[in-house]
Symmetry: C2
Subunit: 126 residues, 2 copies
């Protein structure tokens, strides 16, 4: 996985129309005409987006020379996910820290409740 492939993948994904095209192609291959239909976009406009996706290796062309259907290629998406997965431990760490903070706040609240007489059970335990 070269840095430049991640560059072109993330760059290609940074557009809602291109993400919608990928979502459509995840259901099966489609011609440019079929892809242009739901977007109320001109065929040249769609073709421009398709070129970006093709350069990023996110789509390829099927064998039918007449329809030239586009097909989703999963590999760049898998590479992008791999990169993001490297940060999963960080989010989980963040959640754990958040849990710790929430736990401390709760303990503090309970302690305050005990001081003001609101938590009888804790008092009984002392």
């Amino acid at each position: 996985m070269t840095p430049s492939s991640l560059d072109s993948t993330f760059s290609a994904l940074a557009d809602p129309t291109r993400r919608a095209i990928l979502a459509r192609l995840a259901l099966g291959e489609a011609s440019v005409l079929e892809l242009a239909e739901p977007f109320a976009m001109s065929q040249p406009a769609i073709s421009k987006h398709l070129k970006v996706l093709e350069r990023a290796g996110l789509i390829s062309r099927g064998r039918d020379a007449q329809r030239r259907p586009r097909r989703l290629e999963a590999a760049p998406l898998a590479q992008a996910t791999d990169w993001l997965e490297g940060y999963r431990r960080f989010w989980e760490g963040t959640y754990q820290r958040l849990d710790a903070v929430l736990g401390e706040l709760k303990a503090l609240e309970t302690g305050m409740g005990a001081r003001s007489g609101g938590k009888k059970r804790r008092r009984r335990g002392r």
Copy 2:
């Protein structure tokens, strides 16, 4: 999660320096000076990248007014991963199809081996 937040997240991730800054910040917060050091880049050049990351919500500023350390914010990375996770079934489908094809090829190869007398066990079983 709005489409525009995915736009800015993916756009911010489409650069090797910005991804390296995030990798550094995953280890802990750092000042602009500390971030600029390993990249052999001018501070203004780094600041420009930091602005892109900040606008995308991928980093924030710590409380120390003097150092203004930058901190990684995991939420946009989690959102981007969520989007990509939507395609996991597609890759797995691809792998499953590939497995099926490989299985068929193997069966064909075994069958051919049996026909040419190469697989005695299969013959005995008949």
